[in-house]
Amino acid sequence: MKFRIYRYNPDTDTAPYMQDYELDIRLDDSTQGKMLLDALLLIKEQDDSLSLRKSCREGVCGSDAMNINGRNGLACITPLSSLKEPVTLRPLPGLPVIRDLIVDMTQFFKQYHSIKPYLINNDPPPETERLQSPEQRAHLNGLYECILCGCCTTACPSFWWNPDKFVGPAGLLQAYRFIADTRDQATSERLDDLEDPYRLFRCHTIMNCVDVCPKELNPTEAIGKIKDMMVKRLV
């Protein structure tokens, strides 16, 4: 199987380049269920200078997000059988490259932290826990599952143009996760914070985020619901 992988080591390379690798594996029963990450680890045995992030290897931690044949995704849950050769791997677009497939996620997490991703509730904590009805809890489905891999935000052209000002789909999905939470008391402050031409309204419903999300979440829908709540507040 043929691979083309983006290589860049800022200490030795003046510019990034694409390096070809070949693995002696064929797509048959023996490779059934093998994922791209398995192949990458075999390549790393050939060439241990290749750098990438990985951890849980089952789509839960979000470490091995990368651009796979032009589309962002997680290497650990992308079956080898689904890929066209040569498999072209690049780091997530729109973020500074630290080395090879490793990007600097600082800007991504800065935007995530800016939406205050925690419950704001000024009531004294009850003895056991803050309760929700099953219906109230159901509103968090499709929101809480985000693993912050960065696939959506780095696929978003609006984030590419204004990474310092636009919160991005991942951050906005989490913003709605706390707006939708009945235990949170800061809804109006959260809406105030997002009612901004850059922070929220750079979203032009391009929907790359929905297309690439490895957890099949829908940030565009969440952004639409934030807009609906703002309209409801306005009229």
Binding site: D164, E195, D196, Y198, L234
Partner: protein
């Protein structure tokens, strides 16, 4: 002035909403006008002048054009915000676009009521 990233202009919702409303106005107008024109068997100068001598048609045409200009303003500002990095250049472009659209609005009135 220190060079820091500043956000929090607290507008955006109103323009986003107006852009949607103006889109509906334009869609209704275009479909109605196109429908009327397609239904005319012989569409000539007389039919055209008769149509546009009606005050109702002129008024709704002006509403359509004003919707178009406001819609264009929001859209062009969005493009400028995405692609023009210097705030000074953005301001100049915004002012020029607003002036141009205002001129188009005045010109539209002259055309609609000027003949």
């Amino acid at each position: 002035m220190v060079n820091r990233v500043v956000v929090g202009a607290h507008y955006g919702l109103r323009d986003w909403l107006i852009q949607r409303v103006t889109a509906v106005v334009m869609a209704v107008y275009i479909v109605s006008l196109a429908g009327y024109l397609l239904l005319q068997t012989d569409l000539d100068y007389d039919v055209w002048t008769a149509l546009f001598s009606s005050q109702t048609v002129r008024t709704f045409t002006l509403l359509f054009l004003l919707s178009l200009f406001y819609h264009a303003w929001v859209g062009i500002r969005d493009i400028v915000m995405d692609y023009v990095k210097s705030a000074a250049v953005r301001l100049v472009i915004h002012v020029l676009v607003i002036l141009a659209l205002l001129l188009y609005a005045i010109w539209s009135v002259q055309i609609l009521w000027g003949f």
